[in-house]
């Protein structure tokens, strides 16, 4: 990105070595201290402690007991529930990320042109961004209600049988995903519109002169131009789906029959729910989460890095 800013030429010479004045004293480090203190206490220390906890037993009161090596990991990976939980986590990511990206791409491409109508629509599609996990979840819980909810009213009007949206293990995960897609769409549309807004007019004009219009213009010209935003969204949406907690907690509490228990929710279940303080097991799961996120971040760096090289 910095290469695209020719205005900072003098900043460039600054960054390449010689400083115009001597500020290499220790005082500038003071400016870093507040942030370092916070990160040390609430990121670095707990990170180390997570590893220690994952290698320790836990007594009934949640106190750390003796060193148990990899036994917690062994228990996690041999737990038949754990495979199901990882599958739920993966399915939830697919159910949320794919529809969110596809829908927001369609919406953003249709709203790309500057006009009053489009400005109104942009605000409409941005509104869900304001809704917290908690607010969105309780609204949808009313919609999902099997006896009085709006969704079953619609299903029955269309001649179907009422669905146990949150009470059947078949529908619960997609139902939570639906809620999540609704919450995420505003953010995604805003990012994509910002990306489309930065596509130079000349590019679009040149494509038009070459006879590209409508679908072809969007598919072959505009979408490739906003690929970096799409990648960014795929990564952030995936990580967000991994982090999802509130909607599961409000809508199903992981049930029915743990069909909506994802990795993060299982950490909560083992660590905190129903006075369970199995911090050893939960910490081993937390390490799994850290590894998964590290892999996703690695993918992000390699793909985005390659994109930048190509341009």
């Amino acid at each position: 990105m910095s290469a695209a800013i020719p205005g900072t030429a003098s900043g460039g010479t600054w960054q390449n070595g010689k400083k115009p004045f001597d500020v290499r004293s220790w005082t500038p480090l003071l400016y870093l201290l507040p942030a370092i203190a916070v990160f040390a206490c609430f990121v670095v220390y707990p990170l180390i402690r997570t590893f220690i906890l994952s290698a320790s037993g836990t007594d009934i009161l949640g106190r750390q007991s003796q060193f148990v090596g990899l036994r917690n990991f062994q228990r996690v990976f041999t737990d038949p529930e754990f495979g199901k939980i990882m599958l739920n986590t993966l399915l939830f990511a697919v159910y949320t990320v794919v529809p969110t990206i596809v829908l927001s791409l369609i919406i953003a491409l249709m709203l790309n042109k500057e006009s009053t109508v489009n400005r109104v629509f942009r605000t409409v599609f941005a509104l869900p961004f304001a809704y917290s996990v908690s607010a969105a979840s309780i609204i949808f819980s009313a919609f999902f209600n099997p006896a009085t909810g709006l969704f079953n009213a619609i299903v029955q009007k269309l001649g179907g049988q009422p669905i146990g949206w949150l009470t059947s293990s078949q529908f619960a995960l997609p139902a939570i995903a639906m809620t999540t897609v609704w919450m995420n769409i505003g953010y995604n549309v805003l990012v994509l519109l910002a990306g489309l807004g930065s596509v130079p007019d000349e590019v679009v004009e040149a494509a038009r002169l070459d006879g590209a219009s409508g679908f072809r213009l969007q598919w072959f010209i505009l979408i490739p131009m906003i690929m970096s935003q799409v990648f960014f969204l795929i990564i952030t949406d995936t990580i967000q789906s991994l982090e999802s907690f509130g909607q599961i907690h409000v809508l199903t509490k992981g049930g029915p029959d743990s069909s909506t228990t994802t990795l993060v929710y299982d950490i909560y279940m083992h660590g905190f729910a129903n006075n369970s303080s199995n911090f050893g097991y939960a910490s081993a799961e937390a390490i799994v989460l850290i590894v998964v996120v590290a892999i996703i971040t690695l993918i992000q760096f390699t793909t985005v890095g390659r994109k930048v090289d190509n341009q």
Binding site: T8, F39, Y131, S132, A135, A286
Partner: protein, 321 residues
């Protein structure tokens, strides 16, 4: 006079004549065009019709998607104002058929300590926002402008904190707060969030685009580090600070997992946790639920509507890296 008439009178027929000629030419051209159109068959007409149809179809899709997306927003407000006989009916009413009522809001405020929870949410979010802006600006200033020794190493380390999700270290953080005796306190809500890797990244990216001449000039005038920060860097950073502040406010106003863990009594809970208490499964009251949701989203809704530009700028800072 006669000269005048003789000059003006022939002028008219001439004009008429030329207009007629132009007409004739026009009709000729039109005829030629029609012939051409006939020659290319009905494809031209069809492609035009198809263009119009696709425009209409596109608009229909947009309106349909718009209705679906805005419906929960609309219904949360409409449902809040609906009478029990409307919203608790089956099928539930879509609009307040029997007039509006404020009783849902009033009942919600009775069930949860609404004012107290608003204060908790507002206070903690505000402190977190100010703190993150402050710590991020200080770090970015030291790294970009003051060129702290090992700036790139520090930057990588700060950025690295973004890789560690709050959820993956939530157990030790909970234990830390517990052992400090801070469970169910205001401090517990804010302590882990006083700095953020994303905030640092955002301020850093912004300051890298500074016109460094300004900073250098102030330096030559003998400005101290703090003076430079206060009178040059901060005013220049205002757009980034606005975006970061809005983004941080939205994120932490909407926080759920951490406030749920560290608070126990309704008096210490944030509004986000409070409103979930409005949906009791045995005595389900959708009007009450909608009222709770509306109460929780009013501040953020205002921010999203009024601060869209800042939000978009903040988002692009993250996505164009």
């Amino acid at each position: 006079m006669s000269v005048a008439t003789t000059t003006t009178i022939p002028a008219k027929p001439k004009a008429i004549k030329s207009a007629a000629a132009a007409d004739a030419k026009d009709t000729k051209e039109i005829r030629a065009e029609r012939a051409k159109a006939k020659a290319s068959g009905f494809a031209a007409n069809f492609s035009h019709a198809r263009y119009v149809a696709s425009k209409i179809f596109g608009l229909l899709v947009l309106v349909l998607l718009g209705i679906i997306v805005i419906f929960p927003v609309y219904y949360s407000f409409a449902g809040t104002l609906m009478q029990q006989q409307d919203i608790a009916a089956y099928p539930p009413a879509i609009w307040p058929k029997h007039g509006i009522t404020w009783s849902n809001l009033a009942t919600a405020a009775q069930i949860i300590p609404l004012f107290r929870q608003y204060v908790n949410s507002f206070g903690s979010t505000l402190i977190i926002t100010v703190a993150q802006v402050l710590t991020s600006t200080l770090v970015a200033y030291a790294l970009v402008v003051l060129k702290v020794r090992g700036a790139s190493v520090w930057f990588t380390l700060f950025l690295g904190t973004m890789m560690i999700l709050g959820e993956s270290v939530i157990i030790p953080n909970y234990l830390t707060i517990s052992s400090l005796g801070l469970r169910n306190t205001f401090l517990a809500l804010i302590l882990p969030y006083l700095a953020s890797g994303f905030g640092i990244f955002m301020m850093y990216s912004f300051m890298r685009q500074f016109p460094m001449e300004l900073v250098e000039a102030a330096r030559i005038d003998g400005a101290s580090n703090l003076r430079l920060l206060w009178s040059i860097v901060l005013p220049l950073s205002r757009p980034a600070i606005a975006s970061l502040a809005i983004y941080t406010f939205l994120t932490h106003w909407n926080g759920f997992f951490w406030p749920l863990l560290v608070t126990e009594t309704p008096e210490m809970q944030t509004i986000q946790i409070g409103i979930t208490q409005l949906q009791s499964p045995d005595n389900f009251n959708p009007g009450l639920v909608m009222a709770g949701a509306v109460l929780a989203v009013i501040p953020t809704l205002l921010i999203v509507i009024l601060g869209q530009r800042q939000i978009v700028r903040g988002l692009t800072a993250g996505s164009t890296k």
